[in-house]
Assembly symmetry: C2
Homo-oligomer: 85 residues x 2
């Protein structure tokens, strides 16, 4: 079965996010003054072949830990949905 | 009311994604051979003050169009949820 994984990788709360701060300042320069706590992360989509959801989820988790995210400073979350071929 | 916006910004389908291709190759080098079509985008979180969901959504959409995304090569989607203070 083919699965579509959507992965969100965010900096941990304790980690400073200068890119987010820069974007927040830029938004304020455009007079969006009601915005706060902008945080920037990564988003990834991929397709993977797996017999069952559980096996797919386990693999996505492993790939995040080993390659896609840096577990020292980043958190990740993901969703898996069945993909049409 | 305080809203939390989660924004996903992805490259349009027609746009080449060399970063995604590099990650796909790296995954294959780690023997994840069942993975394909890796695409990399951006993920943003922010909080904004708005009386109603509709006003908040309209503003997020406008911010994406004006600053956060590049509408020539990127698509964006977002969700708004009520945030606890």
């Amino acid at each position: 079965m083919l699965w579509k994984a959507r992965i969100e990788i965010t900096l941990k709360k304790e980690v400073l996010d200068p890119q987010g701060a820069a974007v927040e300042n830029a938004l304020k320069a455009l007079h969006y003054n009601n915005v706060k706590q902008v945080r920037i992360g990564k988003y990834m989509e991929l397709y993977l072949e797996a017999e069952e959801r559980e096996a797919g989820a386990k693999q996505v988790e492993e790939m995040c830990r080993r390659l896609l995210a840096n577990p020292v400073i980043e958190d990740f979350s993901y969703t898996l949905t069945e993909a049409e071929r």
